[in-house]
């Protein structure tokens, strides 16, 4: 399950890191969903990852230097997974990937609003988001108040769409 090294081409090597069905999903949930624990990733993923696959990919991503693991002081069995700088710099790629998917694939509105906001925010927003992730995961200092984070902005956009769709679907008593 380690790297193959079929060739030294950067695209090939990148593909060997996350060219599978689950690795990037896990990183997405950690980056955009703020998930740090095994259970959060297991139960929180809408795609429904199996626990053995999750365990395997977490191990693999650690071996590849994308994640680190630490004990959670609040619970002797709890582990906290952290993104490394290597994983944090994936943000622009995820932003592009989301933008591409939004154009060409049958995305759902509520799940693509984050991609839309991130695309509109452009590189400055990505940089801000990466700084927030460095603060959260690497303990770097941060100048952003907790209520003005990029993640909170994206989450608010998501919730606005969900709320609007709920009323639009006939749940609004005034309609």
């Amino acid at each position: 399950m380690s790297i193959d090294r079929r060739s030294g081409c950067p695209i090939n090597l990148s593909l060997e890191v996350f060219g599978d069905r689950w690795s990037l999903i896990i990183l997405r949930d950690m980056i955009f969903g703020g998930k740090r624990h095994f259970r959060e990733l297991l139960n929180g993923s809408i795609e429904g990852i199996a626990s053995n696959i999750l365990a395997d990919r977490l191990k693999r991503l650690m071996e590849l230097g994308m994640l680190t693991k630490a004990d959670d002081p609040s619970h002797k069995q709890k582990a906290i997974y952290s993104l490394t700088e290597m994983a944090i710099t994936l943000v622009p790629i995820l932003a592009h990937l989301g933008a591409w998917g939004r154009i060409w694939l049958p995305v759902s509105e509520e799940l693509s609003i984050r991609a839309e906001l991130l695309e509109k925010g452009g590189p400055p927003m990505w940089e801000k988001f990466m700084d927030e992730l460095r603060h959260e995961h690497l303990g770097m200092p941060s100048g952003t108040p907790p209520d003005a984070t990029v993640r909170a902005t994206l989450q608010a956009g998501y919730e606005a769409v969900v709320a609007r769709k709920a009323t639009g679907a006939g749940c609004d008593p005034g309609a």
Copy 2:
């Protein structure tokens, strides 16, 4: 082998399109290598794809709308594969992926020079490259002379590295 639709998330859907070991390699060889025929892709790929996998992925990429196939007028059995606009717009993602891989993974110098040049060229170079691909694959008009193409620039960079490494390795009779 068609799309799963585990969720409507743009990143997930993108992953279902090329979240495997070979699809993006094939697209890379078509985009950067100018490969259009089955044999070119089969024998030209340094990673060594098997013919059944190649056939399967070409079929799948056609079903997904990333490629089209046409008869080659020069040979009744020859098929020409063309990129669609959907595939051409992958160029910025490939550029980012190459840049990321170049930083974090053990890339080889000769295979990463293209990624370096593409990164240095930035979005203007990517746009020019996409226009060239539209000309080649979609028959759009082009204002770029054949010797000043982005692909030719990248290829020249590659060959310069190969030549330098060959002399540096002791093949230079004057050394």
